[in-house]
Symmetry: D3
Subunit: 227 residues, 6 copies
């Protein structure tokens, strides 16, 4: 009955073209394009400056202090994937370091998003293997208890299904359901195309109050100017 | 009766020369010069390396998940101001991004200090618009509820009145009441002038124990040396 | 009866050659070589990018908001030492800044590890004086209450005895008991020598599942592959 | 495309008999019976001593500082339901108080589980309306932005689908998927039936080491007894 | 220049009748009556069940680990006062215990609100001396550094001026400016008078959707019902 | 070389009479009598109201998510002992519940102090088995990895050696080294004998300012009274 101890081999990955298109936009834009959902908690941070990821999720459910399933996940990685690791309880141990990164990179992984800790951060940067985590911790882990690979997980507050698109940059991590990838990519493009004009107006000194026609609703809400 | 829904247009800004003088000192020095008060909590951090701000406060009180008043605040900015944003409850949503930064910068703002989250951090760095916040979060906000502009606020534990001087660097954020700006600037200058001599002595191997004449009070307090 | 108000002058420092050897390895490797113990909590972070420390501990027990004992500790520093500062209760005040750093550096200290806050971070970086702390905070401290120097302390969850080896890098901070320094250095060397071969195999696409012979124990534990 | 702004009226609730049976077991037992999954984070606590809930989930997705959807949810409550409220970002405002509790209770709700704050706690206790939350906070909320009702939500780290069984007691909150309710209830019963015998043995002084036959595996793992 | 080292003896306390009237309402009601401002952070909790306070503020600014100013404050207490203690930095030491409570109670104090820790909690309950704090901690404090008494302080995020009304119950702590005490008390009374009718309707099964006429604005906002 | 995988059978427990004497005093008094050291962090709280412990420590070092060593510890318990459990990294899983409590109680244990989570809290209260922990969490643990029993541990920031006296009440948890038990008990008695007189004076309205003769040192420190 449990969802532990399972590895799903065949997963439906989001359309490759849609993934590539999503990769051209920032996390904030994609999250807006989705209707303001899909973000992980802001505790998820890049382990080195400039890290950025866009790819399809291979999910892992870990046990606290145990990274056995990371090795099981490695085999399921295909080029263009991002490993998304959740844990059955809060734990900041260093589940991942340069050896696993070498293996993931060799399999074609584009990065790791983990609701836990990682180590060998300098080496990860040298390798150019981007990681987003909630902690950096040298603490090693064991290989003793089963979790699962490619089941639905909750990572840092977001639901991630295997095959979903995961985009991560300095502003955070967003998850786009595989079936919505193209639609969201198109919406993000549209949204971004509007921003240039707005930016130009604001740079020229036009106020948002006027550009967005906020004066009337603000007055209606009761805003009072005093001297 | 409420302090919500108010925009104060005419505020008394600290003397411009005093502000410029304060800008030459670090936050730690200014805080010491004020008698060790006026600091925000250490959870307030620069969103990019090297960010530094010194200017006069335009204050904003936001509602959680709502950045409507940021647009109202934009109109109140004068060159040399710093926007200081507080929130009626704890919230780390991304109240501020590159579009608002463009508008603030066009109005002459020198930066933002916000007890909340911001986004578009890479773009903020490219623009050279310094921000100090307690979180980086892509989460978008709405425009539905009134807060206030240029009222007294509590931002990250510090009282900020409109027109106060706000100085922010890698060591934190300090608030200098407008009426004290010149006095504090002078005290900071004096304090710093003493530091050079101390630094030289310490660098030469003189101990603080001797330079500050601590041996006697330490002995009086009962300090015991054992082997 | 209390352990407060004591300064121990003669401490047994770890063997210098062993310390130098430990300095060649990362924190994660040393922690593994010790049998996965000795780490401080992951809340301890370098205050500037690239900070790294390896040296012998001079320990300090501080009182909240009071850095008096830092000056007492300065006198006990010998070249190659690292000051390790604990506090009798949780406190993030800025116990340490550029003046104390100048003094410590003049005495030959290699850095500071402190379960509290520090300030003057930009200057610390310019000086090349590495610090690991749990906070950056401009808040000044007083000099009024006795703590101790060179007693056993708990710093960020780790027991530190004076003379122990402390190694800190981007992955965290590890404490090696003085008596074990050589053994741990040798074990770290051995461990690292094995990693090159593993890394090469993983880089070539060999899976950890095969390299570590995990398939059988995983199956025995009940792992199921589904499609 | 967004999942916001939706109310699903017809949901499939877990079998009533299975729900009642689950209500006879503690959260720890049910969680074990499910294979150690399904728990919310331990930050979720009862707002008064002795609170306990078992029922079927009506889910709500709130916006920070906004409880509009709670009123929408009220209409969807059927006798035996538990309202499970998540929020699009971290927020501890008081989304719920005695008036909403009166309404929910009148509709037959058995309690509320909310990843946010609540107020009127004394009145909730007097009414006998159990609530599990991560905060108690008098802060009022507005009614301005759409969320959703009866969509899949993540509440305190657990996935909750409308109709799932939610059990809450002093040990925490567990979510049982509707389709597994009977199986888990049976497994919980079985598990509990084994505990009596174990408890009697342990109470008589038999060691777990012997009862669970741990001595051999401990020795095999390398455990050493010293004097 | 500093605000430290000052004791203000003559403060203007809120009108006694208004204070008594405010004492009849809950914190949530008063906060709403003020326009949703004035609350302290939800980390402020009663140290024993059933604690409740209403009185006029005598304010204290403490230094971390130092409760000297509590003794200075004792002399300024008049019957009906509540001591409100802030600290110059985050600290959870036990600044207050049964001896100080005995002194405060003898002076007529109605309780303590402290953004720090307290101890002797069982004795406080036996004495019937209510305390709201952010921590319970046995850690003793020293008497070495000046703070201030009866200056404006920020306590748990709220501005408190000496003489303001402070009301605390299980839902939190609210601060009513002295000049607004009567107006807020009247508004709270009015607000509460409306609640009885609402409660009766909701208890009879009327939905908030209908009582508050929300259906139309919800539809206008785009809410969609699906089956 | 590691300290993991060890069980020390023969430990020197503090003198029984001294332990009983310490049991008559509160945690705050004992901590003061020791010179203000020995306290655990304030995050350690009783899991039920009224819990109180005094006994000699049997120490356990756990791995995250693993309670195997609890069973090993059970065998080392003698009547009058308190089990003190630390963990190699931060983890709030439910390492302990009613079955282990039954076993510990049968062996004569007086309670548990654990830097982790526990479950079956209602049953623990019914059994009268006091527990102090940093979390209540239903999450079950496995039995797969060695830790140690009766080695020196750091529990919630305090060093605990096997045989030390551990006293826990509503104010926190304090550790008295075995060799100091009698001295500390005597000092606590002496301290408490002084408190009665002080309390009587303060209750009679005498100010601490006068009783402790603080007026002169306050003036010397520069305290200013203003009107």
């Amino acid at each position: 009955m449990s969802t532990l101890g399972i590895v799903k081999r065949n997963i439906v990955r989001a359309d490759a073209a849609a993934v590539e298109k999503l990769g051209r936009f920032g996390v904030a834009t994609i999250h807006e394009a989705m209707g303001r959902v899909g973000l992980m908690k802001p505790s998820m941070r890049p382990v080195y400056r400039g890290a950025r990821i866009c790819g399809t999720a291979v999910t892992v459910l870990l046990q606290p202090g145990d990274n056995w399933m990371m090795h099981v996940a490695a085999e399921q990685i295909q080029p263009g994937d991002v490993v998304v690791a959740a844990c059955t309880s809060e734990n900041e141990d260093g589940f991942f370091g340069d050896l696993l990164a070498t293996s993931f990179q060799a399999r074609g992984a584009r990065g790791l998003v983990i609701d836990g800790g990682v180590r060998d951060v300098d080496e990860l940067e040298r390798m150019g293997f981007p990681v987003f985590s909630k902690a950096i911790h040298a603490k090693g882990t064991i290989k003793a208890t089963l979790g699962s690979v490619n089941i639905t997980v909750v990572c840092a507050g977001a639901i991630v299904n295997p095959g979903d698109v995961v985009v991560a940059d300095v502003d955070g991590v967003v998850v786009v359901p595989a079936a919505l990838a193209q639609t969201v990519a198109d919406a993000a493009e549209k949204r971004e195309s509007f921003e240039g004009e707005k930016r130009a107006k604001l740079a020229a000194g036009v106020l948002g109050l006027d550009m967005y026609k906020m004066r009337e609703p603000l007055a209606a809400a009761g805003l009072k100017y005093i001297d």
